[in-house]
Symmetry: C2
Subunit: 464 residues, 2 copies
């Protein structure tokens, strides 16, 4: 194996800084170029979400690099969704029937800072900030940068270049515009956007609403969510259509209309958001898009990772977890084929892409589920049955949500196929009155397992 190879990473976000740390642990020379200032020294929010859901797939990556405990101290457990209706009534819906399964709210900035500092502890890691990648010459394995401080441009060479530069990836753009090979690519926007707002702490620094839940105000066509921060605040996100419905981003143009909207739809939230109007008009409206592409690599020269390869919508809370899992998967394949970057890149996409495609689709499904399904009786009955099965048969049953979120040892694709079949099985059995929530739980488990097998088998025969 050629050691001390020079790896250039574009983007020092969550995925790039974790990748740098792991490659440094493996002994590579790593240089990262980041367009933004060092977030440990400057306050930058840059329009990306402030806190994120962190769960078992992400944690698997933290274990790999030895940071599980440090990250834990940044986490606030969220055991379930706290659902708020229009009257301000709340209902807790746990994420799992197993008490030890929960997700966490974590600050993007804190986690990113930790990863950067841990990476920088390695002498074979160099991080440059304020240097924006303008284009990548993937045939020559060079990248053109603009230094925002000196206003000059320069070209960097490397043994291989890995772009972890997010949904707007410059390497991906260079693939697309280069037209040197068949590049499959999709960008699909939802007709909804999002805006970040906040619930500030009380005067004494306490949480104004229940700390250990993901709060959700589902309203059919739109919704509000809130995740806790360590400082006692919550980051609140409004998901809303740009153009459709009585209230939408295009017509929420004055403080009066915004306040009226919240007063009608989220009165209990409004009460603890005196800063609503300020936040609303200060913060940008973000887009919600899914990006898929292929191939991720060009020969053994360049590779896309994280959001650069597969940006997803946030509705499964898996964006960061998927990017962290990328690093785990990549690391395993690097271990197997190190010394041959092209083989590593080919194998990595081959094993990984089916799973990142799956989580992209699951995240879109969940957008519809959170808006349309949570209110329907049959879906609520299904959820009740799932939670009961998980409680009574913790080793035998895991819902789709649990398979995706808490079962890091199976891939997203397998979780999706099995989880969808289970969902369909329970819905079939409920709608045909073959099970009911009052039945003996062993009988329910038995029937659900059998019906799931039938569905999976029929799909196999149909070639699905």
């Amino acid at each position: 194996m050629k050691q001390k190879e020079n790896i250039l990473i574009i983007g020092a976000g969550l995925c790039g800084s974790l990748l740098a740390l792991r490659l440094a642990q493996r002994g590579y020379n790593v240089t990262i170029y980041e367009m933004r200032p060092d977030l440990r020294k400057t306050d930058i929010s840059s329009g990306r979400s402030i806190n994120l859901a962190f769960s078992d797939r992400g944690n698997k990556a933290m274990k790999l690099v030895g940071l599980e405990d440090k990250v834990k101290s940044l986490c606030i457990p969220m055991h379930g969704r706290m659902i708020h209706d229009k009257q301000g009534n709340t209902l807790i819906s746990n994420y799992s029937g197993r008490d030890y399964e929960f997700i966490n709210s974590v600050s993007r900035g804190e986690l990113n800072a930790l990863l950067l500092s841990e990476a920088e502890k390695h002498e074979n890691v160099t991080i440059y900030f304020n240097k924006k990648c303008k284009s990548v010459n993937f045939e020559k394995t060079t990248a053109l940068f603009k230094d925002y401080e000196s206003k000059t441009e320069f070209v960097e060479d490397a043994d291989c270049i890995i772009a972890t530069d997010g949904a707007g990836s410059v390497l991906r753009k260079s693939y697309y515009l280069g037209k040197k090979f068949l590049f499959s690519f999709s960008q699909n926007y939802l007709t909804h956007g999002y805006k970040e707002l906040s619930i500030l702490p009380t005067q004494t620094g306490d949480y104004k609403t229940y700390k250990n839940a993901l709060h959700i105000w589902p309203r059919g066509d739109f919704m509000l969510i809130a995740l806790p921060n360590l400082d006692g605040s919550f980051t609140v996100t409004l998901f809303l259509s740009y153009t459709q419905g009585k209230f939408n981003f295009n017509n929420l143009t004055t403080p009066e209309i915004v306040t009226e909207f919240f007063n009608q739809e989220f009165p209990d939230a409004l009460k603890i958001m005196p800063n609503l109007v300020d936040d609303f008009f200060k913060n940008p409206t973000g887009t919600l898009g899914t990006i898929k592409c292929s191939p991720w690599h060009f020969k053994g020269n360049t590779l896309l990772m994280g959001d650069a390869a597969h940006a997803i919508v946030p509705f499964y809370g898996q964006g960061m977890n998927a990017s962290f899992e990328d690093v785990v998967e990549f690391d395993a394949i690097l271990e197997k084929h190190k010394g041959n970057w092209e083989t590593v890149f080919v194998e990595y996409e081959k094993t990984r892409k089916k799973d990142t495609d799956a989580i992209a689709d699951l995240a879109i499904d969940n957008f519809h589920e959170m808006r349309d399904h949570v209110g329907q009786a049959i879906f609520q009955e299904k959820r009740k049955i799932e939670i009961t099965l998980e409680k009574e048969f913790p080793k035998e049953y895991a819902s789709k949500y649990s398979l995706v979120t808490f079962n890091e040892n199976i891939g997203y694709e397998e979780a999706m196929l099995k989880g969808r079949a289970q969902d369909k099985a329970i819905l079939n059995l409920l709608s045909n009155k073959l099970i009911s929530t009052n039945d003996n739980t062993s009988t329910i488990l038995d029937k659900v397992k059998k019906e799931t097998e039938v569905i999976l088998n029929e799909n196999r025969i149909a070639g699905l």
Copy 2:
């Protein structure tokens, strides 16, 4: 209604010339700009396929503009697939159990020439050739053209611009690069390409193999097909991976290897293709891609139609038919909302896009079906049952293929949903031994209908 509005059409291919004709019949002033020379005066093949499958959806459009009879004279009926195995044995598999349902082979050039000439009969139609659109300013409703003859550039203004400029659409590129609105877009390439070859007529001008079929040599990972032309020749197309398998486009580099490949895999075809090597190295290798995008329109200014909005792979023989159906659907909505282009464009995409998305997906399905499924016993039994049901119950049963191809009064999406459920129903019943090909046909029909309803209902409940 504002009459005598000026419509600018970019691209005088099949969709553009039909659209021009229809808009001229409605009294609009139509100007078409086409980048290629006039195909009625110059022989241009331009890398696009020479003959195409023409069926009922396309014919609906010909009826609309009064050209059904003229087009019929250009058509060669193909009643089924003639399947050739490696030993040269052949088997006819009809497209339908109903004798009057068949598809047609038609020359792209002849059909396009007819549409252009019919459009030009209207004094309110002007067609310019050798003028390439370089970009569209969709905010100003102007387009920039380069005149290939005078080498000059000029800008054209119109009341609205409709781009029917194919898979490489310049208007679509202008939408994408303009970044003036959220533009969802995907281009997905298969890892297979295609190459056109030919079976020339006999010395006496006769067909060297059976005329009235679509010939197919399915070989799992690759295949050869042939469609008849009026002059006694067949246009042959090889679909093959670029890089995978023993033989692929990347390694078919010498006359010897190409001949060896055909000798091993398609010996009966090789016997009637003495010109194989010449064709192979003269003709380009084409890519197979699917393009989807949204929105198709910008305000009431510009609109994408045909392949420009939804390019599909050729495996369902629906590319041209879908583009012709675009014009029929557009015409119906124009009739309803004429005078308000924005409403027309919005409504058109709303009613049409679900169907063009469906045929894109169906075409990909058929790629797998033709390669993988046609050889499997259970799929052959399914096909046998379908043909029997169509023969015995011509008014009560239509297979997925028939729904898509011969049932122009239901949309592609409905055809897909119903067709897929029927496929799954028959496969379920066969694999669970609840029907067999020897059963009474009324019993089979009954069971298939019931199982189809169960599947459709379960999908509805699961929100699929």
